[in-house]
Symmetry: C2
Subunit: 665 residues, 2 copies
């Protein structure tokens, strides 16, 4: 018992030292959660430090990501490839120990955290992924997918509304292999939480279908172990373990106070803390016996090896399943996918359907989904409107994880975090809602971008074309706000062909999320040559052109492309030299080489008109000071969509008028 | 009893007819909630249709705003200035009956709703406002502020996480005059909610400190009345009344089905419904006796008159209080405010402090807050970091509503909705968090903009200058995403003087919200002439200039202005003709006349360099295709802020380099 507290204190010592050295960080939480971490990681957590990407490892999510030094200390002591020098480089440029945990940066970090509540909410997706993979791949006596997801979280995570969306879904899905530890220290940054956080957390979780182990002494290893054993025995509910802890535990003058939340303890206070807890070593000094007690190499390699042996037997018995499992874990697409996509494009070219892109999107899914079993759909309670339920969709239910479609309820943020959790575990999730409600989910889209996750958002009703529902339901700023977010590809296709390319590109982009802006209203198909089709995936291309140098370039996206081509036809008939550029994805276009960009938008053509029924300002990027934009500079109105297009100037007539103005007529 | 059901059915009939005529809308919810509405509005709701802005009226918030026709029917029948022609114009351009309720558009609409969950969450702010106003203005035997806030909501509102943030705060504050009716019809758009919404709602609300009246028959007027009486008797908790209802109640083929949620019933189905419920009138026909049963003119005028008499007596006894009350209800500022702001600016000019703008902001509040008791501060658990707790701040607590500062806990969205509720009731709320977490609150900022509410967001840690906390905490796209949102003024001041003007302008802007982007790091004060100071409030101005026409214009905001002026000094010393434009608020600058815009940014000067440590793309608006931008095109990194400024090129050297490049050197 005393030894275990000693081992726990090693986490505190490293955390205090690293935070003090970097003069920045959050010591209170690592010090408060050290005993919880010791109990979980030394006695229960199944992992292999030498193989951090082992697919059947337990997952650990630090939802209160500011406690990052707890995680780095755990990884270092357990024997991950994270040296004492890395620890000493805490919060330095390009170190393996950034301020908040980031995946792909530190071996052993299963999820990037920091924005509160999202760790827990993403872990729900990870635990769901385990259930779905087990359902798909396990065979009798072959539980190749069988692991748990563990979460540490603080009161901040529980105050954020996303936590309720997440726990409600986890309870509905009965995710019994999900266990969360609540670091209940009664302190947040503003002080004692009694003034702003009075809810009965245990009762709230129970109301949402969780098993709760309450009143655990978060500094008593035995009590924590018992709670974990209780959680392990629950087979029909996720579990919350409420640990009463002291923030900054051990610090003679700071323990229990908000002041140790986000500021380093100084060297004197560190020494006093170490003295109080009987830790008699220098800074960044870990004695060999402590390293040995923590080292998880042998145990980890053993369980990993057993699993590998079991998997080899499974592979011998079910070679195709095993191959499919490996393909998915590597994130590779099937060869059938490419041929299905190519065939679809050929079909769509022939059909030339006059349909909304939200409907085109469904047709794309109808064609490609059968080739990609890892594609998991869903919607935040707008399934019929957003076209996400395709011909081979089947609903996942609380009692059947074989479905490939998730009804998330009216929870855009919760949907998005679960999508990110699925993406972290080998799925390609897509989820649909109205574009305006991407606002509710925005920080999860951002976290997907930062974490390079292949989550795909289907954002329909993408403009004032929404019509009668009015300005609360009509996006204006959203599409460009998403374009401004780094590493998000935002597609706004103009017809069935562009919809197919948008979907194909989004699925092929392994390194980040995509957003598909789809129309509510029907759109006229554009004529596409073979060359043009190959250029759609460059993000922008010349859709129609004149002889020689254009006098004016009209740039449009999505539903406004047909207005642009119609106006261009009239202008051309009047003898103007007009080029129309369709720009379904500005993000991808920006990544093309200069020659291609110059080909599409020659620098010397300055009469440029951009048209998009959304926030105008973004388009100065392509039309500059000399150009003009037909866009939105106010909110929309409630009226039929065609009335609004007329009212706000999204008409062929207005394009002609503005074009002539640019041409000096 | 039967008559009351008849009166209730008038709501259904009008809703069905208007939705059918406009070929768009949501009949299911109005039909399901008609009995609840009849009971509340005819028997309990205190209002005066002839004076919809009566300050002590009860408030009604339709959180499931898609049921708008229920509200319009209520207003029409009760005798508000909303004619049958208005009803017939449902969802038509510029009608008084838009798709979702909007304030300032329809007399009697207390809050614009549509984005689910926010109605309930904003109502929490409205109910809090009543408590705060009562605390401030009521005197013994003079309860001039004494009204209730009523909310209708659906399962969608409860699935959204914002509902948990809101109910947790309402429970903590014991808002007993807040009563919510849950339209528990077990149906959402995707179908029966059992697959995605299984939580025990009553238990969840009880866990959050609410009194719950469960199992009410939502189609039985007596049962609903009894529930309301029970709620009225609870004096220490907000109350939830759970009404079991049938969506599309009365429709022979659609009742109980998701298909009547968002699609009109056709004429045949309307007739069948009317027949089933014994409603024997033509479309849009309301018999006189039904009008008379609903008409609230007399009752409303009586209670309004009684209140006015009581207020007149109060006014005689407490003339200064009454005057102050009237001032605040009109939204006028005090004269002391203007003089305090002017004095502050003079003081700041003398002091020339080298401090972070988050600290300047606090100094501004120290000076002006004593002159504006309606200014209510708060933070989402970052009080110390964001500088929102000023010298005369005092914390509001669950047992004392005299405070002017609210600890919202880690609830950015909940904070923002409560702010909007306060703004709707005569307060000027401001609330602080880190700018990156504006993502969590975005749709509430949007709703404030759409509803023209004077809410002020203090968004500190406004760039990669955040430093060590890393990319999850460093905003990139947020500031420009807010700029793209219509009717939001986004200020990013460069020093103490600009901070003061930013605050002053935000407070003086009665017609929309403002966001103040404030630095974590210290900033060098700029030299400001009197003329320049008067120009700051134009959003952009010439901070330093050359003789004659500039060869290059450097545009910068906030923390980057000092880099711009330093670089300009060096370039000038080298003989270049350089102008520096500080642009603290692009939104306000865009509203200036052409002459001023041309003065600041002459069209013929095309060598333009914009510098902002945030998303670059927005700045093409001002530098065009020929200019250059030093901005962010990726996420940030975890490292000390000064290291990041160097790494990402926000340095005097790089500005000089890019300037020379633009000048063709």
């Amino acid at each position: 018992m005393e030894l275990r507290k000693h081992y726990a204190h090693a986490l505190r010592a490293l955390s205090m030292d690293a935070i003090n050295k970097s003069k920045s960080g959050h010591p209170g939480a690592p010090m408060g959660m050290a005993n919880m971490a010791e109990a979980l990681w030394r006695n229960h957590f199944k992992h292999n430090p030498r193989n951090p990407n082992w697919v059947n490892r337990d997952r650990f999510v630090l939802s209160n990501g500011h406690a990052s030094m707890l995680l780095y200390s755990l990884l270092h002591l357990s024997g991950y490839d994270l040296s004492m020098d890395d620890i000493k480089n805490f919060r330095q440029l390009h170190s393996k120990t950034p301020g908040h945990p980031e995946i792909d940066r530190t071996p052993g970090v299963d999820m990037g955290t920091g924005p509160l509540g999202q760790g827990l909410a993403t872990a729900v997706g990870m635990a769901l992924a385990e259930k779905m993979l087990a359902n798909r791949f396990n065979r009798i006596n072959h539980p190749i997918m069988d692991h748990r997801t563990w979460v540490f979280l603080g009161d901040g995570c529980l105050m954020e509304g996303i936590s309720q969306e997440a726990i409600s879904l986890a309870g509905t899905w009965k995710l019994n292999k999900l266990t969360a530890f609540y670091d209940d220290n009664k302190i947040s940054i503003d002080g004692a939480v009694g003034g702003w956080f009075t809810e009965n957390v245990a009762a709230r979780f129970e109301a949402s279908g969780w098993h709760v182990v309450a009143n655990v002494d978060g500094h008593d290893p035995k009590d924590i172990d018992d709670a974990i054993e209780e959680a392990l025995a629950v087979d029909d509910k996720p579990c919350l373990i409420i640990c009463h802890t002291t923030i900054g535990y051990g610090s003679p003058t700071k323990a229990g106070l908000a002041s140790c939340h986000g500021s380093p303890l100084n060297s004197e206070e560190i020494k006093a803390t170490n003295d109080a807890l009987g830790w008699d070593y220098g800074s960044f000094e870990i004695p060999q016996d402590v390293y040995e007690a923590w080292n998880a190499h042998e145990k980890g390699q053993n369980i990993n090896d057993s699993w590998q042996n079991a998997f080899n037997i499974y592979k011998a018995e079910f070679p195709e399943l095993a191959e499919e499992f490996n393909r998915r874990m590597q994130g590779d697409l099937t060869s059938e996918f490419t041929s299905a996509a190519d065939k679809l494009i050929a079909d769509l070219l022939q059909k030339q359907e006059h349909i909304a892109t939200r409907v085109s999107g469904k047709k794309v899914l109808d064609a490609i989904a059968p080739t990609l079993p890892e594609l998991i759909g869903g919607s935040a309670d707008l399934t019929g409107s957003v076209g996400t339920f395709h011909a081979t969709s089947s609903s996942l239910t609380p009692n059947d994880f074989s479905g490939n479609y998730i009804h998330y309820g009216v929870r855009e943020f919760g949907m998005s975090t679960v999508m990110n959790g699925l993406a972290l575990c080998g799925f390609i999730p897509y989820g649909g809602t109205f574009m305006v409600f991407s606002d509710y989910a925005k920080n999860a889209i951002r976290l997907a971008a930062l974490s390079k996750l292949r989550s795909i958002w289907v954002l329909t009703h993408d403009s004032i074309g929404v019509g009668e529902d009015g300005p609360t339901h009509q996006p204006v700023e959203q599409i460009s706000a998403l374009r401004l977010t780094p590493n998000v590809d935002v597609w706004r296709p103009c017809d069935t062909i562009e919809s197919a390319i948008a979907w194909k590109s989004s699925i092929e982009n392994k390194n980040g999320p995509s957003c598909l802006a789809m129309s509510r209203q029907n759109l006229t198909p554009q004529a596409h040559s073979k060359e043009q089709i190959s250029e759609i995936e460059k993000g922008a291309y010349i859709l129609s052109d004149c002889e020689g140098t254009a006098s004016i370039i009209i740039i449009a996206t999505g539903s406004e492309v047909e207005l642009a081509t119609k106006a261009a036809d009239i202008l051309t008939a009047e003898g103007k030299k007009v080029r129309v550029v369709s720009m379904p994805c500005a993000d991808v276009f920006d990544r093309q080489d200069d020659a291609y960009k110059e080909k599409v938008l020659p620098k010397n053509v300055r009469a440029r008109l951009a048209i998009e029924a959304a926030s105008a300002d973004f388009w100065y990027k392509y039309v500059g000071i000399d150009g003009a934009i037909i866009g939105m500079t106010s909110f929309g109105e409630s009226a039929p969509g065609n009335v609004l297009y007329e009212y706000f100037g999204f008409t062929v007539e207005n394009i002609i008028k503005q074009s002539k103005k640019l041409l000096g007529e």
